[in-house]
Structure formats: C-alpha cells, structure tokens
C-alpha cells in the first residue's frame, strides 16, 4: 500500500470486529487528496493497515440503503 495517502474525514460507524482486532468500518475518506467519499473497508487497530474495501458515492449509498430496507435481514 506504499504511496497511498488517505485522510479520514468522518468515522461513521463500525460494522464488525474480528478476533484479531480488525474492524469493518464505514467512513468518509479522502484518497490521495481527492474529494472525500464514503468508504467501506477492513482496518487494523488505529487504522495502521487497510484491508480490502470499496468506495461509494452519496447516490450509491442511497441506493444501497433502499436495497437493504427491502430485504429481510
């Protein structure tokens, strides 16, 4: 992950904790100085290491919310 700069603008919430201390989080993050986006990703304690994840626009997050509200979870 060398060379990737990021700044966490807002920590929205934690979806889960793993036994190793990693957390799956929804945040608002600016990657490499770009416009901040929603970001769903696994993180090691204190955000020292990042795992796999996906960025989402506001519209995509709205669409996801609508889908989830239609499901029986």
């Amino acid at each position: 992950m060398a060379g990737i700069k990021f700044e966490i603008h807002e920590e929205i919430g934690i979806l889960s904790d793993s036994s190793k201390g990693w957390t799956k989080e929804l945040n608002i993050i600016s990657w490499n100085g770009n416009t901040p986006k929603f970001d769903l990703r696994d993180w090691s304690p204190n955000h020292e290491k990042m795992g796999k994840g996906i960025t989402l626009t506001n519209e995509e997050l709205k669409a996801l919310k609508n889908l989830l509200n239609e499901m029986n979870l």
Copy 2:
C-alpha cells in the same frame, strides 16, 4: 484474478452504472466453493471481470442498514 472461482447465487440489486458499462452490485456469491456471502463489488458487463469489492456477513449487512438509516442521505 486467475484461479478464483465464484458462483452468483442471487443478484440482489444494482447501485450504479458507469459510462463503461460496469455496475456496482450487491449479490450473494460463493467464492471458491465456500459458503455464500453478501458481496458488494464492481462488475463488467455480464460479470466477465470483477473489480474491487468487499464481502459482508448477514450481521454486518444488518449493522450497515442500521447505520444508513441513521444518516441523512
């Protein structure tokens, strides 16, 4: 992505379309023959190529739903 086998069990919905025909989708996918999980990921047309994504358990998706419903989107 050579060597990764996957089977899409259910196509839940599409979050967005890109100009190049890629879609961001929520599906239920079995990776390498394992138990199917929720999967949020970018896909090329007809699921020929996969982009970055993240898998989620049922509990994680519930937590995400609760977070989204608390936000002003």
